[in-house]
Amino acid sequence: MMWLSGGFVFRRGTSRYHRLDPRVKLLISVLMFVTTLIVRSLYELAFVLAFMVAVAAVATVLRRVLRTMMLTALFSAFIFAVNFIVTGNLEMSLLYSLRFVAIVVSTSLFFITTSPDELEQVMKTFRLPRDVVFAFVTAVRFIPVMLLDTIQIMDAQKSRGLELEKGNIFRRVRNMIPILIPLVVNSVVRSGELAEAMESRAYGAVPQPTSLVEYRSSLADKAVAAAAVVTFALVAYSFYYVLPVHFP
């Protein structure tokens, strides 16, 4: 839960990175994501991860990103173990497991610096159906609410003698039932209430409602976007034509 909260939930910030046009932030994250997929050696991946850490430092979210990296490492350890058992190739197993960390960080950087409102504007840029945009943005917006709900439900059940950390794996899974049922029921009830509240405020009355905010990229946004594309092109070129390949 804390992994999800720390790694993907937006918190307001005042850094230059936070103030960037959300479309530029998306572009940077997509380019980092793609770079992560095209790396072919641990050196290249180390460079990509270092770049991500630098971006996180600029965005003043370094501590959150490092914590996300640490917690993601638990999952990547599993990826490493499976790969190493199957292939016996240490370097490739390390590459695949660390690649997972880099993928999570690249997406995390976008979500923790982009508010749900900005996310909505970005999705509208791609001319996605309004209902789809609304559903997605609402889901993102409700993640912190659901986390809070989960904590409160766990507190309530623990106060009734439920011991979540006790017993074998099967008992622990069974102990989650008193947590999951209220969580799901509350979410369904809340979504119904939200739908009624939206309809009572004329949601869907016109096909193209006006928007309060219209994003216009500044010169600085355009410069950052151009720099990101050029950096990506140079990095991709050097990965394929300059740096040596360690394994196919």
């Binding site: 709900d149 409160q152 507190d155 309530a156 623990k158 003698g161 049922i181 209220p182 509350n186 009830v189």
Partner: protein, 271 residues
């Protein structure tokens, strides 16, 4: 019974929810914790049950530190009915819901059956025994959560905003239940904004503001301190306001409307 020694707690977002809180609640006392939203009332309650551990200071329940005791063990002594009943109801039937905690605490099946029956009768929920708790009304759910707590007979009963969603008749019944628990020697802690509900119970009142205790004393005394109540954004009970506005008045405020009426009818004699 409950003792908080200079307890400080800071939330992850840096907000200091409790700031050097010291409080001692003796066995059998009825205490109301009041204060505006965000004053730290629920955080204080969660410290008593061990759900939150203090950043500094210590919380003792029956001599045991909550920092080193599991919530499940503390819960056997301290029953909490949280504000939102939807956060705990999950079973297939009302009776199963009530039996959940009793089974967690290892009660014998016969005793579980007896306690469930007692709780359902006490809160007028017998007719819903086989119904899903999820289909009950807001007030019924609230009563069910209270019944669930009282079923295992904890020494301390903590009620977090118990009057939310309750009609006036249910509030009266709830006040009677609190008095009944009090006379049975239970320690009762009520966290509430509903001053009119608390006033007839005449509890010891603890006023909280910005994570600190700014007032602590009997309701009859404390509720007359308008300056303190205003600073903590607590509304003075209407009967106390009435008492203060009367030119000829009895020595102490009326504890309920009936008492005020009788006094007026008897020619303004002291109640």
């Amino acid at each position: 019974m409950i003792e908080l020694r200079n307890v400080t707690f800071v939330h992850q977002n840096g907000v200091k929810a409790l700031d050097g809180v010291s409080l001692k609640i003796d066995s059998g006392e009825t205490v109301a914790v009041v204060g505006e939203n965000g004053a730290g009332k629920t955080t204080l309650v969660k410290h008593v049950t061990g759900l939150l551990k203090p950043a500094s200071g210590d919380v003792l329940v029956d001599g045991q530190s909550t920092s080193t005791t599991s919530t499940a063990r503390i819960s056997r002594k301290v029953g909490v009915a949280f504000q939102n009943p939807d956060h705990q109801l999950f079973s297939e039937s009302v009776e199963e819901e009530m039996a959940f905690a009793l089974r967690n605490f290892g009660f014998a099946p016969q005793l579980v059956e007896e306690r469930v029956k007692w709780g359902l009768e006490l809160f007028g929920l017998e007719e819903y025994r086989k119904s899903s708790p999820l289909v009950l009304s807001g007030g019924e759910k609230k009563r069910l959560t209270l019944a669930c707590i009282l079923a295992w007979d904890p020494e301390v009963v903590i009620l977090d905003e118990p009057t939310v969603g309750q009609d006036s008749i249910q509030k009266e019944r709830l006040a009677e239940t609190i008095k009944m628990l009090s006379s049975a020697g239970k320690t009762v802690v009520v966290v509430s904004h509903d001053i009119e509900f608390l006033w007839p119970i005449q509890p010891r009142v603890v006023v909280m503001k910005a994570g600190r205790i700014v007032g602590d004393g009997p309701a009859a005394t404390l509720m007359q301190d308008r300056e303190l109540l205003d600073s903590a954004r607590v509304v003075q009970p209407q009967l106390v306001s009435l008492h203060q506005q009367l030119t000829k008045r009895p020595e102490r405020p009326f504890t309920d409307a009936l008492e005020a009426r009788r006094w007026l009818e008897r020619g303004k004699r002291t109640p």
